[in-house]
């Protein structure tokens, strides 16, 4: 095992060409951002690469961890392993073509990503959406939130060593994915919404399926919180671990359950209502301490709130057209446009600069995961390796959204 101290001690013998190229020094933060060196000079610190191929990074995220025994001293996320230059590609595609690229940002909230892009286009061209279209958007996005959180719950258990939760979470998620599959033929990368509504109308089985889901979900959620979230080991592993203060949460720009877990009441659906969210009655669950447990509880309660919204929407699901008249090309007038939605992971914004053509001059996504990832060092330093994994899991990261 090589530590930085070892290399200094042994001098040139240790330094081969490849070693200096991949020197561990390069894995730390830039000078000035580094944590102070340990007070105890005898302390033996070493680096561990968690990722890019690791069971708990849920994708190709590489986290370089400086460890002192079991204790985490510093965490530095290294990005770029799944960079596909989606924002650059966007400049060479029309707005409708861009919708399918937005699926690939955060694949667990593909509908919300679609919606965000469509809303920017609608805002620019002042396209209206029929009532049925708005209801479809809202219900689908809430279903999406539910399936994303179910997956998160399953993976959270797995990261803590309780493998079984993964399969339970997937059981109900499968029902939701079946709805999506029937809707548009895809389960993950859906490419469904269009400016002015959605590409196709929902099938006749949509509302019965949602009602079936509404019937079984409350019981299932109770069961799940009894199985994992009330387990004494779970409580010991999450309470007081990875505390994010409200000030820090704001300064890092974290959103979603990470921000609300710290007790800050901000939800785009409430604070800046889009679609028809202002017509629905739901609460924004908040945490108090900002630890891992609060983030978990916020997500668990969000699932219940999503069910509330779905119940109201299913009861008054209107008829009529699902989409206003589509245009052949969406030519955005010269200028810049911004829209934002609340995805299951937080605030997704899309910023379009148009030169008046059929393609965007520049398209920028403001992804929630990137900001949420950046608090990792703040949260994990001083905790054990096992807690680093739990904290990463409670941030609910989707890596392709970070790199884009």
């Amino acid at each position: 095992m090589l530590t930085a101290a070892d290399t200094e001690k042994n001098g040139k013998e240790m330094i081969t060409e490849s070693f200096s190229e991949y020197s561990l020094e390069g894995n730390t933060l830039p000078e000035g951002f580094r944590l102070p060196p340990p007070e105890d000079e005898e302390a033996e610190e070493f680096f561990v690469n968690i990722g890019p191929q690791h069971p708990s990074t849920h994708g190709v995220l590489r986290v370089v961890v400086r460890l002192n025994g079991e204790t985490v001293v510093e965490v530095v996320p290294h990005l770029g392993y799944i960079h596909r230059s989606i924002e650059k590609m966007a400049e060479n595609q029309t707005y409708v073509q861009n919708i399918h690229l937005s699926d690939r940002l955060d694949y667990l909230s593909a509908f919300s990503n679609n919606l965000c892009l469509c809303m920017a286009v609608e805002q620019a061209l002042e396209i209206g959406v029929p009532e049925r279209g708005e209801y479809i958007r809202l219900m689908i996005c809430e279903l999406q939130r539910l399936q994303s959180h179910l997956l998160w719950w399953g993976v959270l258990g797995m990261d803590m060593g309780a493998f079984t939760t993964f399969f339970y979470g997937f059981r109900e998620r499968e029902l939701i994915n079946d709805i999506f599959e029937e809707l548009c033929g895809a389960r993950l990368t859906v490419n469904y919404f269009r400016p002015g509504g959605s590409s196709v109308d929902v099938p006749g089985t949509f509302i019965p399926r949602v009602k079936h889901l509404l019937k079984i979900m409350p019981k299932v959620l109770d069961e799940y919180s009894n199985l994992l979230n009330k387990n004494i080991i779970f409580l010991e592993r999450t309470k007081g671990i990875g505390i994010l203060s409200p000030e820090k949460a704001l300064s890092y720009g974290s959103t979603g359950a990470v921000l609300r877990g710290s007790g800050i009441n901000y939800d785009v659906r409430k604070n800046d209502p889009y679609s028809i969210y202002d017509q629905f009655d739901f609460d924004v669950p908040l945490g108090s301490v900002g630890d891992s447990y609060d983030r978990c509880q916020v997500r668990m309660e969000e699932m219940e709130q999503s069910l509330r919204i779905l119940k109201q929407a299913a009861a008054r699901f209107p008829g009529g057209p699902h989409r206003s008249q589509p245009q052949q090309n969406y030519k955005l007038p010269k200028g810049s446009y911004y829209s934002q939605v609340e995805t299951p992971r937080g605030l997704l914004g899309v910023y379009i600069v148009s030169d008046g053509g059929i393609k965007p001059y520049r398209l920028k996504y403001r992804s929630p995961n990137f900001s949420n990832l950046n608090v990792l060092n703040e949260l994990a330093a001083g905790h054990k390796v096992a807690d680093l994994i739990t904290i990463m899991s409670t941030l609910d990261l989707v890596i392709p959204d970070i790199d884009r």
Partner: protein, 364 residues
């Protein structure tokens, strides 16, 4: 007065006597030893296959799956296929690994299981050896299995492995103490350290087993022993040495092919061994669960003791599996806290209280 099980099954070593009648003394002893070894090897081999199959099926049914279904009826031949696969896989030795220790380490957990199985009384006369200090022997040998993990982690030249080994080292020195104290409790109650003697001391009905014979404290001791042995076994919720979601594979990260399979086999057979010890210490070993009822008891006694033994042991194995597929994992410092701050004082108090119970004659 119903016949005691010793009368029903008098000590009778048929094969041993046969060998002795054919061969002269030195040769007979060697042949008998080899036969015992052979039977143990057969036991370990078949147990490994059965337990791996069982774990896969149990976990599958906990997780809404079927588990292996393709190889043979209900996937019965899957362990065989897995075994053949792992034998033919390449064994990769990482650069910088300590070759001798790297290949020695996987053998230790299995050998520990072997050695402990030799003193387990499966039935009245189904026991390879019955040393007077059987409990001490078990205690000494079972440390070997964690030693294997420790060496594997150290020899792999991998940081994940080393972290896993460090964790299991901490685990080794701590939970062994609780286990030793609880074994001491049983020795005190039974008045003997021979495993066969401990089982014979629990003769009678189900209420003569130590779990029930010692009022209330027996159940507490049983639960504590279960917890401590789960920690000894490195199984969830105490599988911090492997911790696949944190350390990718912990001590076993760098192992492949048959050397990984040996770890796997060792883990499963050790689980069975631990279950055997629980059965021996608390659940009356090979005694049938009699309730003191006139009609049913003779019927239960008709079933041979080793079947009762295996039934009880597999029940405990199922408990271990149940733990594994239900609980999240504890953190390494919480594990230490559990041992030194809770389990150790509790087992000391338990030992003292039981001594009081015995002195006052409240046992049984």
């Amino acid at each position: 007065m119903m016949p005691s099980s010793a009368e029903l099954y008098p000590v009778n070593n048929f094969i041993g006597d046969l060998v002795r009648s054919i061969f002269q003394q030195p040769a007979a002893a060697v042949i008998n030893g080899l036969l015992a070894l052979l039977s143990l090897m057969a036991l370990v081999g078949s147990l490994g296959a059965v337990l791996i199959f069982l774990e896969r099926k149990v976990s599958a049914h906990f997780q809404l799956r079927f588990g292996p279904m393709r190889v043979g009826p209900h996937g019965l031949l899957q362990p065989l296929a897995d075994g053949i696969k792992s034998i033919f896989k390449e064994i990769i030795k990482p650069a910088g690994a300590d070759t001798f220790i790297f290949f020695l380490a996987p053998l230790l957990p299995v050998s520990a299981a072997f050695l402990v199985l030799a003193v387990i009384p499966f039935d009245h006369h189904l026991q390879v050896a019955d040393p007077a200090g059987g409990v001490l022997y078990v205690l000494g040998i079972s440390g070997l299995s964690i030693l294997g993990i420790l060496l594997a982690g150290w020899a792999s030249n991998n940081k994940y492995s080393l972290l896993g080994a460090m964790r299991s080292g901490a685990q080794m020195v701590s939970f062994e103490i609780s286990i030793a104290l609880l074994m001491l409790l049983i020795v005190m109650l039974s008045g003997t350290a021979s495993l066969r003697g401990i089982v014979l001391a629990q003769e009678g009905t189900i209420f003569d087993w130590w779990i029930f014979k010692l009022p209330f404290l027996g159940i507490v001791a049983f639960i504590m022993y279960l917890v401590a042995s789960t920690a000894e076994l490195n199984r969830t919720p105490f599988d911090i040495a492997e911790a696949e979601s944190e350390l990718t594979g912990g001590f076993a990260t760098e192992y492949s092919g048959i050397s990984f399979a040996m770890f796997f086999l060792g883990e499963f057979v050790n689980m069975f061994v631990a279950a055997c010890l629980v059965t021996t210490f608390f659940l009356g070993g090979f005694h049938a669960p009699l309730f003191g009822l006139p009609v049913i008891d003779p019927l239960l006694n008709l079933i041979p003791g080793f079947l009762w033994f295996f039934a009880k042991a597999f029940l405990i194995v199922f408990l271990y599996m149940w733990f594994r597929w239900t609980f999240p994992r504890v953190r390494v410092d919480q594990l230490m806290y559990l041992e030194w701050k809770i389990m150790l004082p509790a087992s000391l108090i338990l030992l003292m209280l039981s001594g009081l119970f015995v002195a006052q004659g409240w046992v049984g």
